[in-house]
Every structure is written in C-alpha cells, then in structure tokens.
Symmetry: D2
Subunit: 97 residues, 4 copies
C-alpha cells in the first residue's frame, strides 16, 4: 500500500485557491479513492502507483478544464514494502499512541 | 500569519520513523507552537518565518541528538499577505464549506 | 510539455544514497527520457503525465529490487498550458538571460 | 554543511514567474551564498540553518515587496552529520563519477 500527499497550486488565477481545492476533493470523492484533506495538502491511500498517479493527473486535468493555465503540483510518496501502511496507521503514529 | 507543513526523514536508521516523529511532536508541544499532525507531514502555524524555521531547526537538532546522521527535511510554506490564514481556516477550505 | 523534478530517498539502507542515485540515472538513460541531474533532485522533461509517472514508478521499483524496503519520493511538477516549456527554457530563465 | 533547494511560487500574478526568479537570484548573488539554479528550483549551500533560512525568508520578503500577495515556498534540506557535503559533491554523485 502506498500513502502519499499532494497539492496542486494554480498560477495566474488570483490568490485564492479554494474553488480549485473543492473541485479536486469532489473528483477524489467520485473516484472512490481514500483521501484525507489537510491544511497544506491532501493525503491519499492507493494500492498501486497507477492509482495514485491517475488521481494526480485527473486533478491537473480538472484545473486545466477550469481554465488554469499553469499548475504546480507537489507530491510526497511513502512506498513501504516491509509493512502495511494506511492513512490511519500513519496518523496513529503521528498523533501518538 | 504563515501556515506550513514539514517532514523530517531519518536516513540510515531502519525503515521505522515513529520514534523520531514522536520526539518531534513532543518538541512542538513544548515549544507551544500550534501544530496538526497529518499522515505524511506536520502542519504548523507561525507568526513569523523565524518562529517557523526555529522549530524546523530544533526538529533537526533533536534527531541528530538521537543519533541520526543524515536528515532530509521537506517544507512547504504558505505565506499570504492579503488575508489572515490559520490551520483551521485552511482546513475549512480543504474540508469543504 | 511537462517539466518536473523528483528525488527518491531510501530509508533503512545507511546514510549513503549514491548507489541508488546512479541506478536511477542509468534507468533514466535507458528509458530515453530527457533528464538533468541536480544536487538535490533530478529534473525530467515529459510529453505526458504517463511518461513522467512511468519513470517515477520504475525508479521506485528499481530501488525495491535493490533491496530498499521503504522509499520516500518527492516530486514537483510544472504543467503549463499557455507556453511550451523544457528543461532548457526553464534553465534559461533561472540562469538569467 | 547543509545543502538544500527551494522554489518560491508567486500566486495571483500571472503564469510567468521569470521576473521573480531573477530577483531571487540577484538577492542570492548579493548575499554571497553559494547557489546553483536548476530548472525547477535553486540549490543552496549553507553552513548553518540560520544562513539557509535567512535566505529563504529574504526571498519571500523580496517577492512581497514586488507586490506578490501569496507565496508558496517548497524547500528540501539535506543535513548530513557523517560527511562533508557541498553542491559539487552532491552533483558529482548525481552526474556519476
């Protein structure tokens, strides 16, 4: 299992991004992928790289459809082979047991 | 107000980082800074860059004290001058209004 | 055209990563994708998200084959629709005209 | 020695960032810090976290002075205690010896 987080930053469309963040969350909801919105980025849980990257590509396409002409995306991926991980398991560690 | 998130990745100390994550959270708690732990990183709310960067430096020093010989830190900063922002306000946007 | 950079950080395999960086560069060379190695990450030029993400997945698989049990990957993507971009065009801006 | 790279993304100021990138490079040149411009970010070599963070704060202040109302900064830091590192030593690894 892969846990990742990502943020898509629209350039050239004013300082507010909330409109775009909501559209990306709607897209994630429709895709059925497990996600958790955070203050700076959105965490995703994926079974494969294809699933993870498919969602990030769709988020970029969504913003492009909405008229954004330049999109900067940051992604951080935790790919762990020695142990099952999930958004919950990683939050458990992070929030303290 | 500045909202940021960061993650400190210990290299050379096994695949588990939970011990180090807990130590960084303890340090944040003691510093009195407002933070929110996420699955991939920890969000921070700071009044100044000095406050934000002071905490990230201390997190690196903490891991070094614990014996980590190489630390990779990722930081993303949202510095907004047109509007007050906070972890809550950004979560509000992200969780949908 | 998409320009991106990425770094794959092996956890649990000592503090040195040069062995792994060289293997990823070899893989990039064989894939025929245009890339530029930097001190902190490797820049890639791709025609599609599939091409970019395919390479990042292969880099993760390569490290896994080499025995790495946990891999943290950072990616930053510049997806621009209003203008053709390339590693060179972006370096030109960055190095000053 | 610390090696890092960073990028400052101006929001709300059109899709072109070259004007701002040049201003940040000018600021780095004046500060005397060692840096290397890349296609996606600028690498810095610093003796201390203060030096590194001082430069990133100044880059944010510079963009604010130029009228940018929201700035997203990404930073990745390599803090290594077991070995001297530099932009050159890390490029040497990355470009292959």
């Amino acid at each position: 299992m892969i846990v990742a987080d990502f943020a898509t930053i629209p350039m050239g469309k004013g300082t507010s991004a909330s409109h775009y963040v909501l559209a990306v969350h709607e897209l994630l909801r429709q895709s059925g992928i497990k996600f958790a919105a955070g203050p700076m980025s959105t965490a995703i849980e994926a079974s494969t790289f294809e699933e993870l990257f498919g969602v990030i590509e769709k988020a970029n396409e969504k913003l492009a459809e909405m008229g954004v002409q330049r999109i900067i995306t940051s992604v951080h991926i935790d790919y762990r082979l020695d142990k099952d991980i999930s958004i919950e398991s990683k939050l458990g560690i992070n929030k303290e047991k």
